[in-house]
Symmetry: C2
């Protein structure tokens, strides 16, 4: 009767209904945003080509797209120098830097547990093979 444990929230598009971290996942964790944020945090201010050289498999189109998105979300800062050849520098913002401990936490989890996931996969595959 007196319980209020249901969801009265707006019925927009929401996998986050039940999960408060879903929006963060959307903003920070995708195939390319995470590596970009990581290298920017690790190696400081960098130019477009430097990012391209470090994240070897990204294409220029996608790199531009992700950088724009991260800039719009306030996680990185873009500085354009109207020189000849043009020079653009990207650096992590204060907001972006606030993710650093989180990333460290994640890296630690990866170091400890990634092989467990691998073993679980092999066990599952072997079990379902028979």
């Amino acid at each position: 009767m007196g319980d209020t444990t249901w969801k009265t929230a707006a019925a927009s598009t929401d996998p986050e209904q039940a999960c408060p971290i879903a929006p963060v996942v959307d903003i920070v964790f995708s195939r390319w945003t995470t590596p970009i944020l990581w290298t920017l945090n690790q190696h400081g201010r960098q130019r477009f080509v430097e990012l391209q050289r470090r994240i070897t498999t990204i294409t220029p189109k996608v790199l531009t797209q992700r950088l724009r998105q991260l800039e719009r979300d306030g996680l990185i800062v873009r500085t354009y120098h109207p020189e000849v050849p043009p020079r653009v520098e990207y650096e992590i913002s204060d907001l972006g830097r606030s993710l650093a401990p989180l990333f460290a936490h994640l890296a630690e989890w990866a170091a400890v547990n990634l092989d467990k996931v691998d073993r679980a996969r092999h066990a599952y595959d072997n079990a379902s093979a028979h």
Copy 2:
């Protein structure tokens, strides 16, 4: 799921060249895996329909797919009871539970910084409108 795309998924493409946490992102953070893990960690052992009711917008097909993937990765445990309406229970594994502090960390970041992202977006949109 009838495909075999997951068998050789080990050394395909690698954005993780420069980023040690990319594999974790791939395993844990997607549109549906995160909410599933979250509610399983929050509300304990649950049946298929309970999960469906909590994560209101997920379809049964996708729920099955993500649950299978999480089971294969060793993050959740599936228990099948061959009764007469069939009963299946899902619970988080020890490996999955080891993500809990990380999720808490993420939730805290979200609570503090999500509105900053929102403001950054509005600022960006207003600036580029002119």
